[in-house]
């Protein structure tokens, strides 16, 4: 029941964040605007960037047009037109194309630019895609705010005893700009030990993000974090040695997704590890 409510809440949040609007009397088209965090990998390395995407969806003809905006000017950088959509009852809509010719906002073909290996999906709670530009730049994009509903917290005390709390969930909110590559991680319904009061939400602010060496995930790190509860710092819950990763994961040929966040840290002389997933691990994707 609780999970269902959370999913509904998340669906409402997603709708708001992405400014979804259905068009037409028969509601057969929709537009989703989303700010995405990108892992942009080329021969010189991987960088984390931010870009704005617009998805124009034609449900009648099962087509999607993706407009990728310039991050700063908000002018359309290129448009991927009329990509076929597929529908899966569990995961929602997915799209893929081996090669796409981008166009400008006015519809002119961009000749010196090609997109290949496009794969994406949009459904609650995900809206992810990846593609390759000109055969040598791999882009993986995820929303700049995401919630991982299925989260386990495992705490190991100094004496070696362990405590497990399974009813929490995690939200990641990215702050990517020219000055910072940071993410605020908020844990909901959290408890590290049985005696600890159940905390409705606890935010670890300003965790530094770096690309993984392989360029396919985000690494999280912080030497020291003062958590915030209801926008108030809690020095007594100081966190040290924070490390972790956000792992966008596409399983080619399948619609199963296991995107997750893993992290560990020390707090109040305990070691805490968190394993947060968008879907139930080892689940067939049904939510």
């Amino acid at each position: 029941m609780k999970k269902s409510v959370l999913l509904l809440l998340l669906a409402a949040m997603t709708t708001t964040v992405f400014t979804s609007c259905l068009g037409g009397e028969n509601e057969q088209t929709a537009q989703i605007n989303a700010t995405m965090v990108q892992l942009r990998q080329d021969i010189s390395g991987t960088e984390i960037t931010k870009a704005n995407y617009r998805y124009d969806i034609d449900y009648t003809n099962l087509r999607i047009t993706i407009t990728i905006y310039d991050e700063d000017t908000y002018a359309a950088a290129f448009v991927l037109e009329n990509i076929p959509l597929q529908y899966d009852t569990n995961l929602g809509y997915t799209f893929q194309a081996t090669s796409v010719t981008p166009v400008t906002a006015s519809g002119a073909v961009i000749n010196d630019f090609d997109i290949s290996n496009l794969y994406g999906e949009f459904s609650t709670p995900t809206l992810d895609l990846r593609y390759t530009i000109n055969g040598n730049i791999n882009v993986t994009a995820i929303p700049d705010a995401a919630t991982y509903l299925f989260s386990d917290i495992t705490t190991t005390a100094a004496d070696g005893s362990t405590y497990q709390h399974e009813d929490s969930y995690v939200n990641m909110s990215y702050r990517i700009n020219s000055d910072s590559t940071l993410v605020d991680m908020t844990l909901y319904n959290v408890r590290f030990v049985g005696e600890m009061p159940l905390i409705e939400s606890m935010t670890f602010p300003s965790i530094e993000i770096t690309p993984s060496p392989a360029g396919n995930s985000f690494l999280l790190s912080a030497d020291e974090i003062i958590p915030e509860i209801s926008n108030t710092p809690y020095p007594s819950y100081k966190v040290t040695n924070f490390s972790g990763s956000v792992n966008p994961s596409f399983s080619a040929g399948s619609f199963f997704r296991y995107e997750n966040v893993k992290c560990s840290f020390n707090c109040m002389e305990m070691n805490v590890s968190i394993d947060a997933n968008m879907y139930l691990p080892n689940n067939s994707g049904s939510n």
């Binding site: 905390i199 509860i229 209801s230 809690y234």
Partner: protein, 740 residues
């Protein structure tokens, strides 16, 4: 047969005064009572376990409300604690402190759908019938352990004026006046009123005030019209008002009753019931229509401490309309087959305001301390030292039922089968509100860090529907003996309606409030707000017998009950102080009931009622502990009532009889909690009376709890503190009754 002793007197008594034996014999012939309507004139030898308390015993044991009948009926325990609102009934190990009762109640045929209405003082009760075991097939919801039917005196059975004056310990006095007239053969009417006042027995050590004081009154008119031999109409209009203190809860830690906030309960009731019976040669139809209005206000110092934690007020206005129409084959038709079929419907509308006021100590210890312990570097301070968590509720509840019973007599066997289809709709609308706020400071500098408003305005609603099939089958065998002996066996399903955890909303609000500071349980309100019906199956077998020329009447019953979807109070997930009613458990209960009334010699009547119950959880996990195998709390293992009444005829013109009564009630063990580590051992309360009776009066000197036994009637825990309520101490009094 022994010769009765007799005190010589010069004056002869004009008419003999009925003795106890005949006066308390069950005479229901021709009455328009709900028991007679559904079970026929003679319920005592049917396929159910019954106890009937007649007028003499009602007067002798000063039974004004159903609570006073506790233990006179085997396995019936109605603890006297709290206030008139707390009418918990335990029967055969079944019962709950709050919400839906397991025993139904009818007063002059009016079914009381709200348990908080049960505890009414009534003048001139003629008879109390307690039908033990599930009565759901004929009486429907909330009768899974039995039904209590109270019938007041009829102007057709008594003519004249009655007055009653009683004074007893605790500066308790009660006065009653009633008049019964039959101006014609076919019309009878009566008017009755009573008022009582008491200072109570317990004081509040905090300020020395009386706690369990009460002023209450009741009035009733009864109009009975026998329009023809075939048409009878009865109307009973009653009202009652009660103002009381109540809640003399003493700390288990120091034995003191000491709290600082006022507790009281106020209630006003109006009830009108009209019963119409129309007889045709092939059937009889009876219609019972009733309207009830309840307006009450319970206000509690919910922490029951000298400190100012929080108070609760619960104001309610409730309108209830019920209608029961019964068709049945003619009585005494001589036919082997008889039948009964009926339709029952009710509508209940309740408006309730239930504000919880958090006060200084509650804010400091339950909110600020809890929060600041977790974050001493940025402590908070509430913006005011008192605020309100407000909850408003509006419920619409209606039910429809169809029922049928077929009875077939084959030689000495009577076989019976009944089935009821019961539907219920229940909608709760709620609005939870709070408007307060707090400041956060930097501990190091004392500077204000931020201010947060706490504004909650959560409306919502939920609807439940229940559908139940409630069967009963039974067989009765009457032996061909000079004196009636019958044995019976039955299997029946009982049903207790589902409902809503309105008492949970203050905790939900409190947790929402804590959530503003990041703490608190995340309640799924939709999940915890409601609970489903509880059902049970009861197998019972019994014997009704009379022997030695009817000088010994015996009723023995053995029963086994299996309960599923048991409504139990559990702790929700998380570290909360809340309790919710949920369908968490299964239980079983078995036991025996023995009722013997004997008249070994003419002036002496001896009665014994004994009930034994072994009621345990089969499955009960409250989320924190598993209580399977433990005794069900609050339900006593044993109830015992024994009495000896000795009547000496005097035969004076001014004095007819002198009656000596000695009796004792014993109850226990009662376990107070699910862990079974707190209990009230078996205790005994001896009582006695001497009554001088004349043609038109009686004077009774009486005493209860003559041993001044110290015992407990209730136990609970609030904010981690345990509390008891002590039972009433030694009480003596005198009662004068005048019948003109």
């Amino acid at each position: 047969m022994a010769i009765a002793p007799q005190i010589a007197c010069a004056d002869a008594l004009p008419d003999p005064i009925p003795d106890d034996w005949t006066a308390d014999s069950v005479v229901t012939l021709g009455e328009l009572s709900v028991t007679a309507i559904k079970y026929g004139d003679e319920v005592a030898n049917k396929d159910i376990s019954t106890t009937t308390i007649g007028k003499k015993d009602i007067e002798r044991y000063r039974i004004f409300s159903f609570k006073d009948a506790s233990t006179l009926v085997p396995n019936l325990y109605i603890p006297d604690y709290g206030s008139r609102m707390t009418s918990s009934i335990y029967m055969r190990g079944q019962g709950t402190r709050i919400d839906q009762p397991v025993v139904g109640m009818n007063i002059d045929n009016v079914p009381l759908l709200t348990k908080e209405n049960y505890d009414l003082d009534l003048l001139d009760i003629e008879r109390i019938e307690v039908l033990r075991g599930p009565q759901s097939a004929l009486f429907g919801r909330n009768t899974m352990a039995g039904v209590i039917n109270v019938t007041t005196l009829s102007p057709f059975s008594y003519h004249g004026t009655r007055a009653m004056l009683s004074y007893s310990s605790g500066n308790t006095y009660k006065i009653g006046l009633s008049t019964y007239h039959q101006p014609s053969e076919r019309i009878g009417y009566s008017v009755a009123a009573q008022y009582s006042s008491t200072d109570g027995f317990f004081d509040n050590n905090y300020n020395g005030s009386d706690l369990d004081w009460e002023h209450q009154g009741e009035g009733r008119t009864k109009l009975q019209w026998r329009a023809s031999d075939d048409l009878r109409i009865d109307n009973v209009l009653s009202f009652s008002v009660s103002r009381q203190g109540g809640y003399p809860y003493e700390s288990a830690a120091n034995g003191e009753i000491s709290y600082n906030d006022t507790c009281f309960y106020r209630r006003a009731n109006i009830s009108d019931g009209i019963t119409v019976e129309y007889k045709r040669p092939s059937y009889t139809v009876t219609s019972i229509t009733a309207y009830q209005y309840l307006d009450d206000n319970m206000t509690l110092d919910q922490d029951f401490l000298p400190a100012s934690y929080f108070t609760l007020t619960q104001k309610r206005r409730e309108h209830t309309l019920t209608h029961d129409i019964v068709f049945k084959s003619p009585e005494r038709s001589g036919k082997a087959y008889s039948w009964l079929a009926g339709f029952f419907g009710f509508y209940k509308r309740t408006l309730m305001d239930a504000p919880v006021t958090f006060k200084d100590d509650g804010i400091a210890n339950l909110i600020e301390h809890y929060r600041n312990q977790a974050n001493p570097d940025y402590p908070i301070s509430w913006e005011t030292r008192q605020f309100v968590l407000n909850s408003n509720f509006k419920t619409h509840n209606f039910g429809l039922a169809l029922y049928h019973q077929s009875t077939y007599k084959v030689d000495n066997f009577i076989l019976s089968a009944a089935l009821r289809l019961d539907f219920e709709y229940n909608h709760l609308g709620y609005l939870s509100q709070c408007d307060t706020g707090y400041d956060t400071y930097v501990a190091a500098t004392g500077a204000l860090y931020r201010h947060d408003d706490v504004k909650i305005n959560d409306p919502g609603g939920q609807t439940q529907t229940f559908m139940q099939l409630l069967p009963k089958v039974s067989a009765t065998y009457h032996f061909d003996t000079p004196h009636p002996i019958s044995v019976f066996a039955s299997v029946a399903k009982g049903y207790k309606a589902g409902g809503y955890n309105t008492q949970m909303f203050s905790d939900v609000l409190q947790q929402r409030l804590m959530g503003y500071m990041g703490f608190g349980a995340l309640y799924d309100v939709e999940d915890i707000i409601s609970y489903k019906p509880e059902t049970n199956w009861t197998i019972e077998a019994g014997v009704h017998s009379e022997c030695f020329d009817g000088r010994i009447r015996t009723d023995i019953t053995a029963f086994y009950i299996h309960t599923t979807n048991q409504q139990l109070t559990v702790f929700p997930d998380g570290n909360t102080t809340g309790r919710i009613m949920t369908n968490a458990g299964k239980s079983r209960s078995y036991g025996v009931e023995v009722a013997i009334k004997a008249r070994p010699i003419d002036p002496l009547t001896v009665s014994v009622s004994y009930g034994f119950t072994d009621a345990r959880f089969i499955k009960f996990d409250n989320g924190k502990e598993n209580y399977s195998g433990k005794f069900i709390p609050y339900a006593p293992k044993n109830t015992i009532f024994a009495s000896a009444i000795y009547t000496v005829p005097v035969n004076c013109s001014w004095l007819g009889n002198i009656t000596f009564d000695a009796h004792a009630r014993a109850i226990g063990d009662i376990y107070w909690n699910e862990t079974n580590d707190e209990k009230q051992p078996l205790y005994c309360l001896p009582g006695a009376s001497i009554t001088l009776s004349g043609q038109h009066y009686s004077v009774e000197l009486w005493g209860e709890n003559l041993s001044d036994t110290d015992y407990r009637t209730f136990y609970f825990v609030s904010i981690g503190n345990a509390f008891f309520q002590r039972g009433k101490p030694l009480t003596i009094g005198a009662t004068l009754r005048i019948n003109i």
